[in-house]
Symmetry: C2
Subunit: 150 residues, 2 copies
């Protein structure tokens, strides 16, 4: 897939982007959790049953990492890459085994740098959805985006 290379100056508030999709399985959920979030509700179906989650659930950080993968491989093709200074994140519901996730993003704000004429800040809101249209995560990232040198 060839995607247009985007500079700060090419973006407008309200621009939207939709990524490809990624299926999450129980093995991936447990492997990520084993390395980064080793809690029973992320590691084992039967141990998860009697917890808050009522069954195996992906770590929120796993959902966040998959969201990043989807954005990098099929979101806005920013000229200098997707480089975040930070943002906020909200997990609406857990990702479950068998969920097929995709990301829908929207440009919320574009702030040129006052000190660095070669860059600006993009506020990008991204919703991560399942194949059923359920929103599992909403995040707003502050991304550093290169300006077109004229």
């Amino acid at each position: 897939m060839s995607r247009q290379l985007l500079y700060f100056d090419d973006l407008k508030v309200g621009d939207t982007f939709t990524t490809g999709s990624h299926e999450v399985n129980a093995e991936d959920i447990k492997r990520f959790a084993g390395e980064f979030d080793p809690q029973p509700f992320h590691l084992d179906e039967s141990a998860a049953r009697d917890t808050f989650f009522g069954g195996l659930a992906a770590s929120g950080w796993h959902t966040a990492a998959i969201t990043m993968r989807l954005l990098v491989t099929g979101g806005p093709h920013l000229a200098n890459g997707i480089i975040g200074a930070g943002g906020d994140i909200e997990w609406k519901m857990p990702t479950r085994p068998g969920d097929v996730l995709h990301v829908e993003s929207e440009v919320l704000e574009l702030i040129p740098s006052r000190s660095r004429p070669d860059r600006g800040t993009l506020h990008l809101r991204s919703k991560t959805l399942t194949q059923r249209g359920d929103v599992v995560q909403v995040s707003t990232a502050r991304l550093m985006v290169a300006r077109r040198v004229s």
Copy 2:
């Protein structure tokens, strides 16, 4: 290591927690990036040299995931686990190969649930630092914490 099991009612604003440490190497950085953030500055030393980062740098989501691991394995030992509804995150500088990270956390706010007497929300600010004392990440999480049933 045996840690005291903590309920919402056991916590006070200003309580602090310090985790153990975790060393990050180039191989881990590339493996995480290959799966979740496949951009040149996270994948290859020489490709990274001419980018914004000036050398191999961990994905911010990798730093976030390691922070979670440190909190789960050596942070506040919350009775129902560390369950986040969301929060904000700021990456101050990238994690580099050889960095040894640990996390210092502080209780910012404790909000009892009005509708659910069995739980409350903890706002926990966590700084992720290197062995040199450089802060690579600051995050504030909204965690769901069980109340002590009396």
